[in-house]
Amino acid sequence: MNKLFKKISTIGGLTILLVLVILIATGTGAMHMSPLQVLAILLHKAGINIPVRYEANMEGVLWMIRLPRVILGVLIGAGLGVAGASLQGLFRNPLADPGLIGISSGASMTAVVMIIIQGSFPVFQSIPLLSFYSLNFAAFTGAVITTLFIFRVARSGGQAVISTMLLAGIAVRALCESVTGLMTYVANNEQLRSITFWSLGSLGGASWTTVMGVMPFILVPVILLPRLAPAINLLALGEREAMHSGVKVSQLKVQLVILATMAVAAGVAVAGIIGFIGLIVPHIVRQFTGPDYRILIPGAALSGAVLLTIADLLCRTIIAPAELPVGIITAVIGAPFFIWLIVKEKRAIVI
């Protein structure tokens, strides 16, 4: 009962927080709207009128500019959150993060290669959704290959060895970045702009097309991963024990790799590398809920969405009218957090 209460209150609380953050973020910018006005416009779109006054041009700004960007942040943040949580479950290690272990670089590399390829075939320019989906697919393939590679290298006796995992991550990142560098070298001006944008991470390219492009790739993992949560819990005991208890371990691992990388890759394909969300979010949630993945995964989805929306809000307001790439903000917050985490883990090992 206590457990159920904890789950409902955590998920409920985070959902309310997310709605508030969405309303505030959507209203903030060059043209300010109060959360109530935002709510009124959204409800008006849904056919419900509430007695709040707003100016007519607010509707256009909100619908065409602000909302797609906020929704994209919510989706990508949720994807990174669940991906981080489930990768930590897969690697049995709280330091596994899609950015740190090179999955994002792998996704980014194949995405950049795809951009160059797309430049040579006019069919991609004429059908925008096709170019988004093919970009997604390329990023996904890159991410899956890197994850499998790192998992293979780092695993020893059924457990991912942390030092090997991080070293393999460094090597993979170096390799991927060199290929990305090569692509930068051969790219033309326009391609160069997209590539730079990739490596920094930004939600600036948001439109309803990009939202539609990533939506399925993020909703599928966000819906399916919580169903795997009881099995991920057992994986914490070790692969052998999980198998003894009735978990189809190899099947579970394949599902985790595919779903987690799908969520990461979708984000990378439209917004580039946004680091540390997948690392920080599960940790924060764990402080409140404990390690149970049944609460952790949905909690990480919601908190990831909240955190990325706030980070994006910061990066487009602090130096307005210019804006910072959101990857810089998450790195500025995330890197010290990562150092703190290492120190904490070190202390835990010594004791």
Partner: protein
């Protein structure tokens, strides 16, 4: 026969680990596997646990060929306590024990909760149920793991409520490592109680005293093969122990003890090669 093993061989890499082992065990038996380090005790247990699908030979559990049993079928028939379970995430003791019910129910119902509670009480860790697992001592952790395995095995919240003959098997790989003498006894009494309820218990043990007190049958392994097997009285002789462990022992009987006592011989020649004897002089 609950467990039927015929001509099992196993090679890991290029190393032959098990050679042509055959034996049978009936429901309600408590079989103890003994042998020197590297004799293949754990490997044999792991083959029965379904971990090495690459074995040669036949393993049948409750009449079914192990190779044809799904992971879920295996998990509902047998529970395994491995030598060392590493869990470094702060699940509560209760959550860990409840993991044993995974194969039956992803969401615990009233019966599952009753079974988990019974398992925790049996292993005397009920008082710790809300403690994070990571804060426990080694012996406490081992007891919690045993409670988890017990929760997987039981089908009712009590040890003697159901007859498990032909339905359940429990594999224990050095289950009492790190436990104090009280909980060592408690764990093996639990194994004996389960055997009395029809569960086949196969345990790897190092301690002759525990094996002598609780085993119905002892299997001695040597260099990956079954050296010999039989009752406690027949197995625990100085000749057999000398042959499988390479150490001289005296087997004593004591009027207050209904099983043989194994003690290392006062004259034990542990250092056999001349070089080692020379070392011993220093």
């Amino acid at each position: 026969m609950m467990l039927h093993i015929k001509n099992i061989s196993l090679t890991l890499g290029k190393m032959p680990v098990l050679r042509d082992i055959s034996f049978e065990a009936a429901a309600g038996e408590l079989c103890v596997i003994m042998g020197a380090n590297g004799a293949g005790k754990s490997s044999l247990l792991n083959v029965i646990a379904g971990e090495y699908p690459a074995y040669k030979g036949v393993v049948r559990i409750a009449g079914k060929d192990l190779r044809t049993m799904s992971v879920a079928q295996q998990a509902t028939t047998r529970a395994v306590l491995s030598q060392q379970v590493v869990l470094n995430q702060a699940f509560s003791v209760q959550e860990v024990a409840a993991m044993g019910r995974y194969v039956y129910n992803r969401q615990l119902d009233t019966l599952d909760k009753g079974i988990v509670q019974c398992a925790l009480r049996t292993m005397q860790v009920y008082d710790l149920k809300d403690r994070p697992y990571t804060t426990l001592s080694g012996g406490q952790k081992q007891r919690v793991q045993m409670a988890r395995v017990l929760a997987q095995l039981l089908e009712a919240p009590g040890l003697q409520e159901l007859d498990y003959t032909g339905k359940k098997m429990l594999l224990l790989d050095e289950p009492v490592t790190g436990m104090d003498i009280l909980h060592e006894q408690l764990s093996l009494q639990l194994a004996a109680t389960l055997a009395a309820a029809g569960v086949l218990v196969v345990a790897v043990l190092h301690d002759f005293q525990l094996a002598a007190a609780f085993a119905h049958r002892i299997l001695l392994l040597k260099e990956g093969a079954l050296y010999t097997q039989g009752t406690v009285e027949k197995m625990l002789t100085s000749a057999h122990i000398k042959n499988s462990f390479g150490v001289d022992v005296d087997v004593l009987s004591h009027p207050q003890c209904n099983y043989p006592l194994v003690v290392t011989a006062a004259t034990a020649g542990l250092f056999q090669s001349p070089a080692e004897k020379a070392l011993n002089v220093f």
